[in-house]
Symmetry: C2
Subunit: 328 residues, 2 copies
């Protein structure tokens, strides 16, 4: 038994990414106000957070602008309206946007180099079967000068052999980070170990980092994030007050209260929660509850639980459980 | 890397204890109705739960009956009004009550043998400095025929050398289980490992089991419970919907969705939550929030957060944080 106490030290290379506006956009069609996005941006800088994911690079054709807010497309002029001529060097904060594979993003015609954008990083999101397009997207954005990551979603539903194949392809790209994404919030501690160790092995000998993106269906988002950190993950996703679709994400305020690097400040995050995030609860709600637990435990997409909760927030959870079981 | 998947198997010797009524009694002076206690009791039997802790054995002199409900004293006639002539053999459920050291319990005059009580187990709760009285209490109740446990509270505030001393004394008693109690909900995964390994080492070679009782301030109650299970804890505490003072406890519905022993049934727990537990939220509230996170992260008693939340559920969390820091 070690008599040391590693939990009061820190690893300087660990980087925190806030994805409140990006992930939260799944709840409100990315219709956050400029003031809300600016408040999160300023909070990230003040709190010492390393990256802020400010939205999706989704196609305005597929996601029309009269339905979806500006944070669904991340047009340069919309971004600059809020962050001005953002500079990562001056602020210590890098800006990221997520680009989905599968026809959701017009990446082929997206030719703006990183040097002409306020964005510093593109996170490419894909399902395992979309890895070939995703690898092309990584190469495209890498060539334009962006830092990149590959977020392979719903990994809890993918067979080991397929994960190995995906990682082999990822290894062969210039991607900087490969993220373990527990989209359904269904992974337990030992499964996180299994996956992180698999990613480490597959990317061994490269400079690529491993990331973790956890959902809170089983109230394990923060715990699984810690677990991944212990195993060597250096790229960690969280959102303010855990804001995010369904059960939500790893809560930033808990994560920062745990990380011992003095550069991270909890107080600005609490101020943002008080002034900006808690008031959002009047428009839409999120966080762990029984229906999301049921989909998480069954390794199912949260959509049934979301539709159940929208219809009746205090609905019949036993009937919902019976329905989920009978649908297999 | 192991290619096995231990998370889909189970350990038959693992026992689950429901402490909804006992721990929840700290929120409402144990003023649960008979119907509520009966509903939990019947749910535990139907769900295959192994133990139900039905209340405290507190002294009616210190905790007067006009203020505190029957589940604060666990008089035999009150218990029998709800559970009849309860039999552990017939139901598969053992009944437990908690006896506090430090003058809160008239244990010396409590001479009812286990054979004449519906109670099967006494859980002795103490702070580390009360271990001598607690050891006497264990011997007393053991002699009367009860199964016993030692729940050493607020362990996150106790120095290692003192913990070692406490465990040496515990080892020398006939106690059946020694429980790691994270009263402040402030322990992280590696600290759980440190403590559970310490308890294991100290009790090595005895038949004593190790238990875990976690609080949810850092949203780690369930995660720390899993971690303890992985390390060999066979006695696990939880409450329905995490009901409990402040941030609450390890939620039973999440725990049962994780345990793979087919004797455990989730559905009766969901029914109880729907019909009995969710309605209680109108009388008192519990569950993780920012003030409880702050006390947990500071390894402090939740009392400041409770008093803050009672005064104003949407109070100024930044001011609360500043106050907690300035009080050191």
């Amino acid at each position: 038994m070690s008599e040391k106490a590693p939990w009061i030290t820190y690893r300087p290379e660990l980087r925190v990414l806030d994805c409140t506006i990006r992930d939260g956009g799944l709840m409100n069609n990315s219709n956050f106000t400029d003031d809300e996005v600016r408040a999160v941006y300023e909070c990230c800088i003040e709190a010492g957070i390393d990256y802020m994911e400010i939205g999706y690079k989704n196609s305005p054709t597929e996601f029309p602008r009269d339905v979806f807010g500006p944070w669904r497309h991340c047009l340069e002029e919309d971004l600059r309206r809020v962050v001005g001529d953002h500079s990562a060097e001056a602020t210590g904060l890098k800006l990221a946007a997520m680009a989905d594979a599968g026809g959701k993003c017009d990446w082929r015609s997206d030719e703006r180099p990183c040097s002409e954008s306020v964005l510093d990083m593109i996170r490419v999101a894909c399902y395992a079967y979309q890895i070939s397009e995703a690898a092309d997207m990584v190469r495209h954005y890498h060539k334009l000068g962006y830092e990149t990551s590959l977020n392979i979603m719903a990994i809890s539903t993918v067979h080991d052999a397929e994960i190995d194949q995906v990682l082999e392809i990822a290894r062969d790209t210039p991607v900087g980070t490969v993220v373990v994404v527990d989209s359904y919030g269904s992974l337990y501690r030992e499964q996180i170990d299994h996956l992180v160790n698999k990613y480490k092995l597959a990317l061994d000998g490269t400079e690529k980092e491993i990331g973790i993106h956890a959902h809170n269906n089983l109230q394990l988002a923060f715990a699984n994030t810690i677990e991944a950190i212990i195993l060597g993950c250096n790229r960690v996703d969280a959102t303010m007050l855990g804001l995010g679709r369904g059960a939500g994400n790893c809560p930033m305020e808990i994560l920062l209260s745990f990380l011992r690097n003095p550069k991270f400040k909890l107080r600005p995050v609490l101020r943002l929660i008080r002034d900006t995030i808690l008031p959002m609860k009047k428009r839409f709600d999120w966080g762990p509850n029984v229906p999301y637990l049921i989909t998480g435990a069954l390794n199912a997409h949260p959509r049934s639980a979301i539709s159940f909760s929208e219809k009746d927030p205090i609905g019949d959870i036993v009937a919902f459980y019976d329905k989920m079981l009978s649908e297999g």
